[in-house]
């Protein structure tokens, strides 16, 4: 057969593309569940890491509640069981980031919040963050203690930041700096600043940036700030709630002690 004829070439390429597409579609469909399970497991581990727990902790035992709030602090959805299938767990933070950046109406935002029961009996609220790094997206979780001011822990990850430089945001050495920092100064929201050249001694809301990873550090700073600002109405309503009933006094004293020991 003449393999150089135009008609042969065209038919050959069409058949080839159809066969290849069919193979890929089949493989993609049959591996989808397994891949999604991996992604969801990783997310669970990161949520646990953001409150300082390792992979051996039982997700279902720690994360007891998942809520969705809008930009006005109104609770839209609450899930107390089967967290992995809850609305909050499956929110696409990248889509929400786009909405926040566009300046979409606050009631259209859907922000996930997870409530963790820690082994020491205290609670932590886990908030999300997402933004653009140097080479790709960066994201993470910031957890606050029940004074809704002190950071209990953070966990960040990235898609492709430079190893040894920007990629250091995923390391415990960087993340541990955030523990005990406060997002409010004298009742004013300040967020946490990632400062190039080093945080000021004794500062309650500054951490050291990564030397050589300036763009990633700045991007992370901006991402956390943007998301915290979106959460702000909700955080403030929690603070107001926490300020009214009695038991909170004990909590506040406890957290201050924690800060001092660190």
């Amino acid at each position: 057969m003449d393999t150089n004829k135009n008609s042969y070439t065209i038919i050959y390429s069409i058949v080839m593309v159809v066969v290849v597409a069919a193979v890929l579609a089949f493989v993609s469909l049959s591996l989808k569940d397994k891949q999604n399970e991996n992604i969801s497991n990783e997310k669970k581990q990161y949520l646990l890491a953001s409150v300082g727990l390792g992979a051996d902790a039982d997700f279902a035992q720690v994360i007891k509640e998942a809520i969705v709030v809008d930009g006005n602090g109104k609770i839209v959805d609450t899930a107390t069981s089967d967290i992995a299938n809850s609305e909050a767990f499956n929110i696409s933070t990248s889509e929400q980031t786009a909405l926040i950046k566009e300046g979409a109406p606050k009631e259209e935002l859907r922000l996930p919040v997870f409530i963790a029961d820690l082994p020491d009996g205290s609670q932590a609220y886990i908030f999300s963050a997402y933004g653009a790094g140097l080479w790709g997206p960066i994201w993470g979780w910031v957890s606050l203690k029940t004074d809704f001011n002190t950071v209990a822990g953070v966990k960040f990850d990235h898609q492709g930041e430079t190893p040894g430089l920007g990629a250091e945001i995923a390391t415990p050495i960087f993340a541990d700096q955030f523990i005990g920092k406060e997002i409010f100064v004298d009742g004013e929201f300040t967020g946490i600043a990632i400062v190039k050249g080093g945080a000021k001694e004794g500062s309650t809301n500054e951490v050291d940036a990564i030397s050589g990873g300036t763009i990633t550090s700045k991007a992370l700073d901006a991402s956390i700030r943007m998301w915290m600002e979106a959460y702000l109405p909700y955080i403030k309503s929690l603070q107001a709630l926490a300020a009214t009933p009695m038991p909170i006094e004990g909590e506040v004293v406890e957290t201050q002690e924690n800060v001092e020991t660190k």
Binding site: T9, Y12, S13, Q35, N38, Q159
Partner: protein
């Protein structure tokens, strides 16, 4: 069968040290042994099977779209590898990130299809592909061995250099951070090339 099909690509005609192909990924994924091994296996599988498929189809491929057909075969296999890694070796696939997809651009694969598989029977082509992938993988693993040992003091993530040697624990040792950076991979590849060239020169004198 000619055993040179197997030994040549691994030693005398090694794709990395002699033909200097596939350097890009050799720099990127050799910081640690685990991703380097997975990368080596992935590339070997892709070169082997793409050569096999190309060789099976060699008499039907229209000459004018030859390269495109090769590209489709290679990318099909690379996407398969990527999907399988994402499902069964998620952590490693995250470490390799874009470099799995970039196997497509590895010149070794297209080079072997064009130079060997299109003119030879399927079985020798398959072996040629596997041997070339193995030659590449061998160098990759050797580089990763040196870089992980000196750069992080571990092998496969297991600490090899005793903790008590480290300065942080009052010892005298510090990991050499240079070995984690890409330039060091290039220098190590250079040393391998030097080593191999000088050894082969002695061979040819005999």
């Amino acid at each position: 069968m000619d055993k040179n099909i197997i030994t040549n690509p691994i030693l005398k005609n090694n794709p990395v040290t002699v033909l200097v192909l596939g350097i890009c990924s050799a720099l990127a994924v050799t910081v640690k042994l685990e991703p380097a091994c997975v990368m080596a296996i992935s590339v070997t599988a892709v070169t082997g099977f793409s050569s096999l498929i190309a060789s099976l189809l060699r008499n039907t491929i229209p000459n004018r779209i030859r390269i495109i057909v090769q590209l489709i075969i290679v990318s099909l296999l690379v996407i398969l590898v990527d999907q399988i890694l994402k499902a069964y070796a998620y952590d490693v696939s995250k470490q390799l990130s874009v470099y799995v997809g970039l196997i497509i651009t590895n010149c070794i694969i297209m080079g072997r299809i064009e130079a060997f598989a299109l003119g030879n029977k399927p079985i020798p082509s398959f072996i040629d592909g596997i041997a070339n992938g193995a030659g590449y993988g061998l160098i990759l693993i050797a580089i990763a061995f040196i870089r992980e040992l000196i750069g992080s003091g571990c092998l496969f993530g297991v600490q090899i250099i005793p903790e008590s040697w480290y300065m942080a624990n009052g010892g005298w040792y510090l990991n050499n951070g240079l070995f984690i950076m890409p330039p060091m991979a290039l220098i190590i590849v250079g040393c391998f090339i030097w080593l191999q060239r000088s050894l082969q020169k002695e061979d040819s004198k005999k």
